[in-house]
């Protein structure tokens, strides 16, 4: 039998040999996310699509607004991989240029929405009391307004500016975000470390930005990933009605609209943009689901 000191020594040896690494929430989430095959594949495809919408138009032999009068409605061939549209413009380049606009609007719109929504929700939840009630009442009123219709009014009357579209779309979508963040903030507010910050004399704004916002970041990340596809859809919706980006610039929605008009004689004009858009939306949804599973603390 070993003596007590020997036991302690053996235990010490054992524990130094064991490499126990502390894992933060984010490391943990990353490991779980990496294990999710569907999400990883989607992320990889999204990465490829992002790269190609940035670089393909730069290196293509055609410009997106080059018209070729000898190749109108040309089916896919070696010259024009995706065929051409009704003005003989190369659809391969146009699909990627359109993707660039759609993705940009999606990301920017989601960014605007997340920014407004997070700050509004965090402020409302943290300040509480009367302010919270008033802020939530305002939110409820905004909920009941048919925003899509107001956006259509806005873009028809104030000009079809891409910046305006960003702002208009982003301004609709922050409502849900604000509600979610408010709920999270309410549950955080009672925690000890917030009280500690209070006691230390940190200002309300300081507590919101330094303590509340970082802690709701997980759920914000999930919802922003799910928000991007819905933003892309909204932009396409507007472009489809002819209210989004204007010729010769294009987006997936605008391409789909043109394609739908000519699908009887040139189905590829509808097919290729639709394919890219649907794949992108699919991938964003899977990545969002994967992130949610990875960051959900209930799932431990």
């Amino acid at each position: 039998m070993l003596s007590k000191t020997a036991k302690v020594e053996a235990l010490n040896n054992f524990s130094t040999n064991l490499e126990i690494e502390g894992r933060s929430l984010w490391q943990d989430a990353r490991i779980r996310f990496m294990r999710n095959k569907a999400a990883m594949v989607s992320l990889f495809i999204l990465f490829l699509i992002t790269l190609s919408v940035i670089f393909v138009p730069m290196f293509s032999q055609y410009a997106f607004d080059d018209t070729d009068w000898y190749a109108m409605h040309a089916p896919p061939s070696v010259d024009h991989w995706f065929g051409t549209d009704s003005l003989g413009r190369d659809l391969f380049v146009r699909t990627f240029i359109g993707g660039r606009i759609s993705m940009m609007v999606g990301v920017m719109g989601a960014f605007v929405a997340v920014l407004i929504g997070t700050l509004y929700g965090a402020a409302s939840g943290f300040i509480g009391g009367k302010t919270d009630r008033v802020m939530m009442r305002i939110l409820e009123i905004l909920y009941a307004i048919p925003f899509m219709f107001l956006v259509i009014v806005l873009v028809t009357f104030f000009g079809r500016d891409i910046i305006l579209i960003f702002v208009a779309i982003g301004a609709i979508a922050w409502l849900d975000m604000a509600r979610i963040v408010r709920g999270q903030t309410l549950s955080l507010r009672g925690k000890e470390f917030i009280e500690a910050a209070h006691v230390c004399g940190v200002s309300k704004w300081g507590i919101i930005t330094r303590h509340i916002v970082p802690n709701v970041l997980g759920i914000v990340a999930v919802y922003s990933t799910l928000l991007i596809p819905s933003m892309i859809l909204t932009e396409s919706f507007l472009s489809f009605l002819g209210l989004g980006v204007q010729e010769p610039m294009t987006s997936w929605g605008a391409l789909l609209q043109e394609g739908a008009q000519t699908m009887e004689l040139a189905i590829w004009q509808l097919g290729f943009p639709a394919l890219f858009m649907v794949v992108t939306l699919f991938c964003f949804n899977y990545v969002g689901d994967g992130l949610r599973d990875a960051l959900d603390p209930k799932d431990r």
Binding site: A144, I145, L150, T156, M263
Partner: protein, 306 residues
């Protein structure tokens, strides 16, 4: 219960007021006028037109006049279709949208819940997986991709249904618009139903019902369905809103003379009073339907206190 309903309806009034105010001032401050065309009119004629529509009065007075008219149910004259009032235009378009919308909504709800329940009761079998992956496609595919695809398949290729038109709402002309409009909501209702049904079927009171020896269909219909419907009922509001908004696209694609098409045309024509009228009407429908859903939810969910 009556008090709750009354309170819910009273709450809708300020929302309505905000909506009317926002749309009124948005219109008034929009650049350009519905009467500015390529041909510039003589100033006397312009003044006469402005006087006829009350546009020469101070904005605040116009606002008060408009508000009182709207409260009395009068949405004013159309600026573009000179012989019609907004009420007449809306009255001719609303039945079309209402018919398609109602069909789409009922179809989405019934079929979605049915399919979702089947998937839940066959959890993790091939049936479940195939239903749910189809639903995923339905969620992702936007209506303006789906509708042209439906036209391509069923009208051009197979020639089963007409590609557009209305023909007084005969059934044949309605199939494709209703399908195109409702697929997203069929899929969403199915996903929601499946999730909540699985949760309900695993709960204690279902186990009790089973151990009593009740038949399986009886348990599902009598015990599980009502509690499983809670999230479905609360999604009915957003689905209704989405179907109305979606009507803009569907009616444009299929060339239907409904509210959505009327609205888009009015926006393109800068027909301020018509745009405003339709926006207010739709807002009113949103608010009304959300109130109905809330009341329904209070009825279905015993946990909600009123």
């Amino acid at each position: 219960m009556l008090k709750f309903i009354l309170k819910r309806i009273l709450e809708a009034i300020p929302t309505m007021l905000v909506l009317i105010t926002v749309s009124f001032f948005l219109m008034r401050f929009a650049p350009g006028s519905p009467f500015s065309s390529e041909k510039t009119l003589p100033p006397q004629v312009m003044a006469n037109i402005n006087a006829k529509y009350g546009l020469d009065k101070p904005v605040l007075e116009q606002y008060v006049t408009y508000l009182t008219n709207v409260i009395q149910g009068d949405l004013g004259p159309s600026f573009k279709y000179k012989d019609f009032t907004v009420n007449e235009l809306v009255a001719s378009a609303l039945p079309v949208s209402a018919k398609i919308g109602a069909f789409a909504f009922v179809f989405a709800l019934v079929f979605g819940v049915f399919v979702g329940t089947i998937a839940a009761l066959n959890q993790n079998t091939w049936l479940d997986y195939s239903i749910m992956s189809t639903a995923m496609i339905g969620v992702v595919l936007p209506s303006f991709v789906l509708a042209p695809a439906l036209i391509y398949l069923f009208s051009i290729d197979l020639g089963w249904f007409p590609a557009g038109g209305w023909l007084d709402g005969s059934l044949k002309y309605m199939v494709l618009p209703v399908l195109g409009m409702s697929m997203l909501y069929v899929a969403t209702f199915a996903r929601i139903t499946r999730g909540s049904m699985i949760e309900t079927m695993n709960s204690n009171f279902i186990r009790t019902a089973r151990s009593k020896g009740l038949s399986f269909p009886y348990i599902v219909m009598k015990h599980a369905l009502k509690p499983a419907m809670l999230p479905v009922v609360s999604y009915m509001g957003p689905a209704f809103v989405g179907i109305i908004t979606g009507s803009v696209v569907i009616e444009t694609i299929f060339g239907l003379p409904g509210i959505g098409k009327l609205f888009v045309n009015a926006a393109f024509n800068r027909d301020y009073s018509l745009v405003m009228g339709v926006t207010i009407l739709i807002g009113f429908l949103f608010i009304l339907f959300n109130a109905v859903v809330d009341i329904l939810l209070a009825y279905v969910d015993p946990k909600i206190r009123y």
